[in-house]
């Protein structure tokens, strides 16, 4: 099993045959698809395809259960924002009323449209994070010639997130060992006492930064001067090959994207007016 940013994937997974750039390209481009598609059924199709790709990549699908509460709460927030907190619209069609609040058909429809736009975006992100390691992200960025310093800072940001969490656990355990524990206390108490964790965490972060700078200097890395002008071999890229099928995949993703834009703006496809939601459920 190989550890990815969000879990583990078997080494035999087909996803390892694909160049990291293709995965990054998929994330960046496919997550834009829903912005050009209003009809929920098409966005639902993107969601299903993405989930299918996850299954094909041997992502442990049971781990997706953790996103169900997120999806439900997000859907609830969108629904409430568009309906109860959506304001009064006399020109809209009132579908029903609860405690005097009017629930408009157009508002509910818009909430569904937005919800089905967000879901595939999240799914593409989860797909990317579930199938990529930190190294893949760096390789993807460097393969499109993003400067070393930028990719390096990005890599360290990824790494520091884990380190801060680890340090937080250490600080919390150390404070618990000395009798300070917010377990079972009220939320306001926890918030007030949170500073007890933040101060040592901040001090630790400063120390980490110092150690990290020392490590970079000791390894001969410099941001300025002659050493910074050295031409780097970028060894990391030599372990990856951009195959013909990678180019084909990039081509297919690009072609679908262009097709969506053309169909949307020149042929009026993917609009809400012709969507199954309107055809089947519109009371107007």
């Amino acid at each position: 099993m190989n550890k990815t940013l969000l879990g583990y994937i078997p080494e035999e997974s087909i996803i390892y045959q694909i160049h990291p750039f293709v995965k990054l390209y998929f994330l960046l481009v496919v997550s834009l698809f829903p912005l050009f598609i209003t009809a929920p059924e098409w966005n639902a199709l993107i969601l299903v395809v993405t989930l299918g790709l996850m299954a094909a990549s041997r992502v442990n699908m049971s781990t997706l259960k953790i996103y169900v509460p997120v999806a439900i709460s997000m859907g609830t927030i969108i629904f409430l924002s568009y309906t109860i907190f959506g304001g009064t619209q006399p020109e809209y069609y009132v579908l029903f009323r609860i405690f005097g609040f009017p629930f408009y058909w157009e508002r509910i429809r818009d909430a569904i449209v937005i919800y089905f736009r967000v879901l595939p975006m999240i799914a593409t992100m989860v797909f990317f994070l579930s199938t990529s390691r930190e190294r893949d992200v760096i390789v993807a960025m460097r393969s499109i010639r993003i400067p070393f310093v930028v990719t390096y800072v990005f890599a360290m940001a990824l790494r520091s997130a884990g380190m801060v969490l680890e340090d937080f656990h250490i600080v919390r355990q150390a404070e618990q060992a000395r009798g300070f524990d917010t377990k079972g206390k009220s939320l306001t108490y926890k918030l007030r006492k949170y500073i007890m964790y933040m101060i040592p965490l901040f001090a630790l972060s400063l120390r980490r930064s110092e150690e990290f700078t020392n490590a970079l200097v000791a390894r001969g890395y410099a941001f300025t001067g002659e050493a910074s002008k050295v031409k780097r071999a970028d060894y990391i890229l030599s372990s990856y090959t951009f195959h013909v099928y990678d180019a084909v995949l990039v081509g297919i993703i690009s072609l679908i994207f262009i097709s969506i834009i053309v169909l949307r703006y020149f042929f009026g496809a993917f609009g809400i007016e012709d969507s199954l939601l309107t055809i089947w459920f519109s009371p107007i």
């Binding site: 190294r135 200097v217 000791a218 001969g220 001067g225």
Partner: protein, 283 residues
């Protein structure tokens, strides 16, 4: 050939009143294996950082005297140039990781040196064989055990084949087995390479058999610097400074104090056994 020379070197950190190192004078020759010992706060790490250029480069303080590496004052080196010749391994291996996989970690320094891909591959193969890190190449370094992490840290610096290798308490966070593995790597370096190696270490059992010379620092002062055998002839001073010599040496020192042993102190258990046999045969 002298590769490191300190002349009346004094360093005081900006926020302290007492110098961390005071009036240090020493010379280290090419290919020597030097052990630095001393209690906490003695100035061992400050001395290591001074030779590597981290002091005064990364720290604020007041410097007096000279620190010459290959005959040139450390402050006169271009940024990064000194570090290409003087490698440094820190006590906390995790603090020095700069990459996402062990393989990337090992090649990071080589990329900084401006090596070509083929040179990097060749150097990588060599260092992987030396440190036994082959099965770990694709793993994130921060997910390894303590001993493995330290081997990665040592390997990453060794790959750069620095002329001088400084290790600041490389085994302080390791269990005995991992400590042995790190010292096995050091033994290999001593056998195969002509690098000058400086190791700061509290545990003397493993260091003593490898060290050509030992240095004792106390409260920022260099109070003893001699060949390993000669160093332990000053046993009362060493014990007075809270240093814990290897058990076999302490045993023979006790015999010496009781008047039953008058020879040199053995540096290893094997030497001790041999000497014991010889004593028993004579008696």
């Amino acid at each position: 050939m002298t590769v490191i020379e300190l002349k009346n070197y004094t360093w005081r950190y900006l926020d302290t009143e007492k110098p961390a190192l005071s009036e240090i004078n020493l010379k280290i020759k090419e290919g020597e294996f030097i052990g630095i010992i001393g209690s906490n706060g003695a100035g061992k790490t400050t001395l290591s950082y001074s030779i590597n250029g981290l002091i005064p480069g990364q720290y604020h303080g007041i410097k007096k005297g000279e620190v010459l590496v290959f005959g040139q004052e450390v402050e006169e080196y271009d940024k990064g140039a000194l570090q290409h010749r003087v490698g440094m391994v820190f006590s906390d291996p995790e603090a020095q990781f700069t990459a996402m996989t062990v393989e990337d970690e090992l090649v990071f320094g080589l990329e900084n040196l401006g090596m070509s891909l083929s040179q990097i591959k060749e150097r990588l193969e060599w260092v992987v064989e030396l440190t036994g890190l082959g099965p770990l190449l694709n793993k994130p370094p921060y997910e390894l055990s303590g001993g493995q992490k330290q081997r990665v840290a040592v390997g990453a610096v060794l790959a750069m084949t620095p002329d001088i290798l400084i290790m600041d308490e490389p085994t302080s966070m390791l269990d005995p087995l991992s400590r042995t593995r790190v010292f096995n790597v050091l033994e290999e370096i001593k056998k195969e390479q002509n690098n000058t190696v400086i190791v700061v270490e509290h545990s003397l059992e493993k260091l003593v058999p490898l060290a050509d010379r030992l240095m004792l620092l106390d409260d920022g002062e260099l109070i003893l610097f001699d060949e390993t055998q000669a160093f332990f002839e000053k046993m009362p001073l060493i014990l007075e400074k809270g240093i814990n010599p290897p058990g076999v040496m302490q045993f023979f020192y006790r015999l010496h104090e009781e008047g039953s042993y008058h020879d040199k102190f053995p540096l290893t258990v094997a030497e001790g056994v041999e000497k014991m046999h010889s004593i028993l045969r004579k008696s």
